[in-house]
Symmetry: C2
Subunit: 378 residues, 2 copies
DNA sequence: CCCAAAGATGGAAACGCTTCCAATTTAAAG
DNA sequence: CTTTAAATTGGAAGCGTTTCCATCTTTGGG
């Protein structure tokens, strides 16, 4: 045994020297080192059940010692399934997209998957064809979608027809319907918290500046806002619910109008930070002091809220955390379920960390900063 | 001939049905269709010189008819070189990074290359090891770097030791030294233009708010500023060159200090839009009207300059255009130079569009908006 | 203690492309 | 019209995995 090991080590060293100057460690090296066939090594890599515990350990040890990393290209070629996922998005908010991308990137790297970044235009008629093409040509096994793509029914349908797994990141109160393949951001609850916080400060006239109509996040946040008001016996005043867009300018304009009107307002809750920052700007133009005369809250904890002055109270959400979960969920789904052996194999720790319902629901948390304060006594 | 074609078509149809439900078109189908060997098809794909014109056309026609797309994984596996490039960056400015990424994405998609996105921490000691690992493990053939990574000498050295091509995007007046593998952004000229524009408006007391010390872009822009002043016989006043960082807050603070001091200033040139937006904020706090009493200019044409009020005059640069050129340049370098045939083959249009010196130098252009105006008559 | 069935392992054929090398064709020169 | 070198093509062996099948082990029951 001792001798055999020694020989093995030697031949590896030899082949290292012979091959490409930059020695690449392949499954063959691992097999040799562990004293098994490459088939077995492959089984271990793929966490297949039919490998004896002891063998598995030997192989894992060899993998670790050699610092072996399976070649993605070879995997893709050799297998009917692929080890590549894609992140498709259409969102002008680079802060949001970058955060999402980072989380996915991290998860895919951890699990040895490739990631294809695919920006696209959701308003295009051809969006469905585009996605179909993407999946087929790049042999993509899974897809992650963020709003607004994730909210489009035609996209969902297209993807279901194809043989692809996909995970959507969207807004909603609870896991319902298609929840099995979604990561839900509990915008309603978070908005409820923000509103309740304002109420706790004594505010009774809280305006809500919504985002684009039809956007799930905006709808959900509005629901949370209303729920908080109702729960605290404050009547919902439609004049205080101002429609508009997710933009600085829109926040600015709406605030100018509202604040120069006769409607009493002591707080503005912007549906995102951009809106809030715009409102803050308007308040300053109108010589309204924040937070003394007016409180302003936002949503997202983006640079807008951090760089404003005063810093804007907001609901913090870690986009990379959310998308990390999404990617892990997707990978779970992509990994073909090998039939489990009858023999109980509980002893073996499962390498694949499953994503539970808890990981599928993310609630942003209230982040109090300087733009909110006690309601002014009129 | 006619019959042969017919048979060919038949067998393709047959194999289409037999294979995976989602029929994938491979090099074999193309070869069959074109009536040549797969070797020849491969040669055409790779634009190798030793293919007769007529043959090439046949193959290209077949490729087009079948809508064939070479399989990246197979290419990577089969070849010593790889068809994957990476974009490594470390920059908190998501607007900048996203723009760069989009251009690279587009170019790599056009040329059938894979792209690996690699965010990293340039301040880490391990940055060099990290890059080395990235290149080796993912068998990356080329790398694109943006500041600050592209400005780090140790990174350049590490990459040169490895067998990787790389292209850096950096600031500079002209192509010098390592210029062959760089895309240069002519920040100096652009800053010159901005400054000259301000001078043209009658400003004589123009402050310059720089970015982080040592950042090439900041240094270059400062040079441009100085040059414009000198060229117009305006003395450079060190009190007006204010060091700081590339941030909103820094712009804000510096403007507050400067504007409440006794130093005469009629214009502020911020080294980027964030700084300018911060300065604008400070001006408003101090009740200084922009552009009536004070002109403010920025640099980059980022959302900061567009969403401020008034909109900020800036130097516009298309990050995606810059990075697109960078990616094309990189691909040119990665494509191994096949020995050219002696026979003049000029007739054949070269598919590979070479990047010339002109494409390697990019100059942002002045974009006049509302934050600048004639110098106030004191 | 023997036998069958389940469990564990290995052999070898793909996967789609590149590339070395040999074979064939073309063109140029004599 | 040869001869010969250059240009053009094709054959076949990889590249690193996965996976189908066949073979060898183990386990449990009788």
């Amino acid at each position: 045994m001792g001798i055999k090991l020694f020989l093995t080590a030697c031949s590896i060293a030899a082949s290292k020297l012979k091959e490409h100057s930059v020695s690449t460690i392949t499954i063959n090296h691992v097999a040799e080192r562990a004293g098994v066939s490459i088939t077995t090594v492959s089984r271990v890599i793929n966490n297949e059940p039919s490998v004896r515990k002891k063998t598995q350990e030997k192989v894992l040890a060899a993998i670790k010692e050699l610092d072996y990393q399976p070649n993605l290209s070879a995997r893709n070629l050799g297998s009917a399934k692929s080890y590549v996922m894609a992140y498709a998005y259409d969102n002008p908010n680079t802060y949001y997209v970058t955060g999402m991308q980072n989380g996915i990137l991290e998860a895919s790297r951890e699990q040895g998957y490739g990631l294809l970044i695919h920006p696209c235009d959701s308003s295009s008629e051809a969006i469905n064809d585009e996605l179909r093409d993407l999946v087929r040509r790049s042999r993509i096994a899974g897809l992650i979608l963020t709003p607004p793509l994730s909210e489009m029914e035609t996209v969902t349908e297209t993807l279901q027809e194809l043989d692809v797994e996909f995970v959507r990141i969207l807004s909603g109160e609870k896991l319902e319907g298609q929840a099995e393949n979604s990561i839900i951001v509990n915008d309603r609850k978070a908005a409820y918290d923000v509103t309740e916080y304002l109420i706790g400060l004594g505010h009774k006239h809280i305006a809500f500046f919504s985002g684009e109509e039809g956007h799930g996040s905006s709808t959900e946040r509005l629901e949370g806002y209303k729920a908080a008001l109702s729960n605290h016996n404050i009547p919902v005043n439609d004049a205080l619910i101002v429609p508009g867009e997710y933009s600085y300018e829109s926040g600015d304009m709406r605030a100018r109008d509202l604040l120069s009107s006769s409607t009493p307002v002591t707080a503005i809750f912007g549906c995102n930070d951009e809106i809030a920052a715009g409102a803050l700007h308007a308040a300053r133009l109108l010589n309204i002091s924040v937070p003394d005369q007016l409180s302003i809250a936002g949503f997202e904890d983006s640079p807008y809220s951090r760089q404003a002055w005063p810093k804007i109270t907001t609901a913090q959400q870690s986009n990379s955390t959310i998308s990390h979960s999404a990617a892990e969920l997707l990978i779970d789904k992509m990994r073909p379920q090998k039939s489990l052996p009858k023999k109980t194999r509980d002893a073996r720790e499962d390498v694949t960390r499953k994503i539970g319902p808890d990981d599928r629901l993310y609630t942003p948390t209230l982040l109090v900063r300087d733009s909110t304060g006690p309601a002014p006594t009129i």
